[in-house]
Symmetry: C2
Subunit: 145 residues, 2 copies
């Protein structure tokens, strides 16, 4: 991983990632909310602070995101029976449906655009996700893996 290209590739990764995010933002209502729905789907019910840690954002940011999602009826919040300080956020049925809908939209968007570039393969898409996942995973967490 010390090829001279890495410099340029890293820069390109950042630039095109930002471009993708903006592309999605124009097509979706709640770009930030999706990430939360996705995390809840993956991990099950979590508290606000745990969600913030999982999404690598600040706790107040997650508080705001959860509030918006609750307003939309996509998550609900209940007191944590084991700790009265905290709460547990979980998907509602509507939230699950919304997550499915968004994933379909994302899939269509990505698939359509990839289809215009026949050179790209599913393997490369998988590699892209793996790389992004690796880069965005806190080194201190995944050390054991």
């Amino acid at each position: 991983m010390t090829t001279p290209h890495v410099d340029q590739l890293s820069s390109d990764l950042a630039i095109h990632a930002a471009r993708l995010v903006r592309l999605i933002r124009r097509n979706l209502e709640q770009p930030a909310g999706i990430r939360v729905l996705s995390l809840l789907d993956e991990h099950g019910a979590l508290g606000v602070t745990a969600l913030a840690a999982a999404d690598q954002c600040s706790q107040p940011t997650m508080t705001g995101a959860v509030a918006r999602l609750r307003d939309l009826g996509w998550v609900d919040t209940r007191p944590n029976p084991a700790d009265a300080r905290g709460s547990l956020v979980d998907l509602t049925e509507a939230g699950r449906r919304e997550l499915a809908r968004i994933r379909e939209i994302n899939a269509r968007l990505v698939a359509e655009r990839l289809a215009a570039h026949p050179d790209r393969t599913v393997e490369e898409l998988a590699a892209a996700v793996a790389v992004l996942r690796a880069v965005t995973t806190d080194p201190s967490e995944g050390a054991s893996q």
Copy 2:
């Protein structure tokens, strides 16, 4: 490109791209400005509207970005001699230095985090960039390629 996984992969691509963008945003002062510097480096002097098209953002957004970069001394703007309506935005020496500095920071950030995941290769990084580039390229443009 019609594997059942594509759905999930596309969603993951979006989620992790957003996470990377936020990661970079926390480490950099002018996350949006970098893209402009990079475009100018790649294409040479351009007008605001051409820059906006290249970056796939709205013209007012680019007007704002250019104004911020000019305040920082990283670009300068001169009237377009061939068209008095428009202007030409170009990198200054300070802008070139800043671009180099940022690329180094990005490279270090990406490289360090990838290093924690020995399974990932430079080829995968290149594939990730290729996929992101393909997805973020307007299908109507790249049709000839």
